[in-house]
């Protein structure tokens, strides 16, 4: 396993393409580097390939070609039995949340910690800690269908945080949320980033991207069309028009 040299990017994609089995080309020759503690917005129209890119990083899908490295590990060469350990380093908020409807809020979060076979006595305090970070104290015993969309989103974020991940991937964490709730979620991600975690967030939320002035990577039709630090949702040329 290649050691991570201090200046090597935490996440790097080189010439990565993804063609789904049905023939859909979702990514073409994508090259991207994300250093440690970066905060990156991934923007682009629906179907651009944002979710695909994020899914490749936890190897939910495999790249068709190109090289993806996460913390120095080449994902195409990562053995199946090492995959769970990669995933434990990454906190992922899925576009569709992927909460289990028959588990309570507490159990949904605890579940992610339990599968890592950690000590049971640390479980309860840890789950309570992340639930309070996302502001869900008092809702531990509710089930997902008893929660609002924003609350479900927070459960998904809490679950992604419970491992103390080094990388936090959020796929449209503000989709379907009202502006106020969206801002709360963004504040949360900023806090997470401030604690030293790299954050990559796929989003359609133009207002947030424009106000935040963070790094913006824009993809369209599976290709990176723009990558700027302190960017806006649209390219400057378009904005001035």
């Amino acid at each position: 396993m290649a050691a991570l040299t201090p200046d090597a990017p935490q996440i790097s994609l080189r010439g990565v393409s993804k063609t789904y089995p049905n023939g859909t080309v979702a990514l073409r020759e994508v090259t991207l580097e994300i250093p440690k503690q970066d905060f990156v917005f991934l923007v682009g129209p629906s179907g651009a390939g944002k979710s695909t890119l994020v899914r490749l990083l936890i190897r939910e899908e495999k790249a068709t070609s190109g090289i993806i490295r996460v913390e120095g590990q080449d994902l195409s060469r990562l053995k199946r039995r090492h995959l769970p350990f990669l995933r434990r380093k990454i906190g992922m908020v899925f576009q569709d949340f992927k909460l289990l409807p028959n588990l309570s809020v507490f159990q949904n979060v605890a579940f992610a910690l339990r599968v890592t076979e950690g000590a049971l006595r640390h479980l309860k305090p840890k789950v309570e800690e992340v639930l309070s970070i996302v502001g869900l104290e008092g809702k531990e015993d509710k089930f997902p269908d008893e929660l609002s969309g924003g609350e479900q989103q927070r459960v998904a974020i809490a679950r992604a945080l419970v491992h103390d991940p080094r990388i936090f991937l959020a796929d449209e964490p503000t989709g379907n949320l009202d502006p106020a709730t969206s801002w709360e979620i963004i504040q949360l991600l900023l806090q997470i980033n401030a604690r030293g975690t790299t954050v990559l967030m796929a989003t359609h939320n133009r207002e947030i991207v424009d106000v935040m002035r963070r790094r913006v990577v824009a993809i369209e039709g599976g290709q990176i069309v723009r990558d700027e630090d302190a960017g806006g949702y649209h390219a400057p040329a378009l904005e001035s028009r």
Binding site: P84, M92, A112, V115, T116, L120
Partner: protein
């Protein structure tokens, strides 16, 4: 140590939760396994007793009485006995004298002893009771002894080929049918258990997918699934054990 305990605790905790959440399906699969195990268990019991009955009938039927002529001296009878005992197909030969035959006859139930007393002389012949190792050799032995001058002619033996053939046939049919049923039911149980496993995995596919995505190892998933199944099967087995016990008590 706590890690192992955590695994076990979660596996069983999860199995328990899942059992009640998917109660309908869990109970249905447990019941199916229960019924199949019960059927298999009772079939084995029935076959076992049938086997014992057939074995008993076979030992009873694999003996013939060779009736000796009243003129045969005891020494010749003993020589004949030794000759028969030397035959490798024969397992045992017992000499029954005229008096012993009469005593046996008297012991027969539903027979009025006074009838025998009116006879005056003893009409029953002495005999050699020959037991063979394999019931199928009985016919050949019967043929051989009939030719001996020492043997009575009316009748020579109590050999009844029809009965023997029927017993041989019954034993064979029972054996084949029992084997076929065991193979069939075992196959059915394996099939149902595998179907139950697949259903369990199918019902939990979302859970399994999410577990994988948050970093569960394959090994961990296997433990959790095995625990869920073991739990279901345990319930099924306890159920069928209780069922068989009730069935036996009746």
């Amino acid at each position: 140590m706590h890690r192992l305990w955590n695994r076990v605790d979660f596996a069983f905790g999860s199995a328990w939760q899942n059992f009640w959440r998917n109660a309908a399906v869990s109970i249905a699969s447990v019941l199916i396994v229960w019924v199949v195990l019960l059927a298999l268990g009772s079939l084995l019991l029935v076959l076992h007793s049938l086997d014992r009955i057939v074995a008993l009938e076979k030992t009873k039927a694999s003996a013939i009485s060779v009736y000796l002529a009243d003129t045969t001296p005891l020494s010749s009878a003993m020589d004949f006995k030794l000759h028969l005992e030397a035959d490798p197909r024969v397992s045992n030969v017992t000499y029954v004298s005229k008096d012993q035959a009469m005593a046996r006859f008297r012991d027969l139930p539903a027979l009025d002893p006074s009838v025998i007393d009116t006879l005056g002389t003893n009409p029953l012949p002495a005999s050699l009771d020959v037991t063979v190792k394999d019931i199928r050799d009985l016919g050949a032995i019967d043929q051989e002894v009939r030719n001996s001058p020492l043997v009575d002619k009316s009748p020579a033996t109590n050999y009844e080929p029809n009965v023997i053939d029927k017993i041989i046939l019954l034993a064979r049919v029972a054996g084949i049918a029992g084997l076929a049923l065991i193979v069939g039911l075992t196959g059915l149980s394996v099939f149902i258990i595998m179907l139950t496993i697949r259903t369990a995995i199918y019902l939990r596919r979302k859970e399994i997918e999410v577990m994988k995505l948050v970093g569960a190892t394959d090994w961990y998933l296997r433990v959790v699934l095995a625990a869920m199944l073991a739990f279901g099967l345990l319930l099924g087995s306890v159920g069928s054990y209780l069922g068989v016990r009730r069935f036996l008590k009746q």
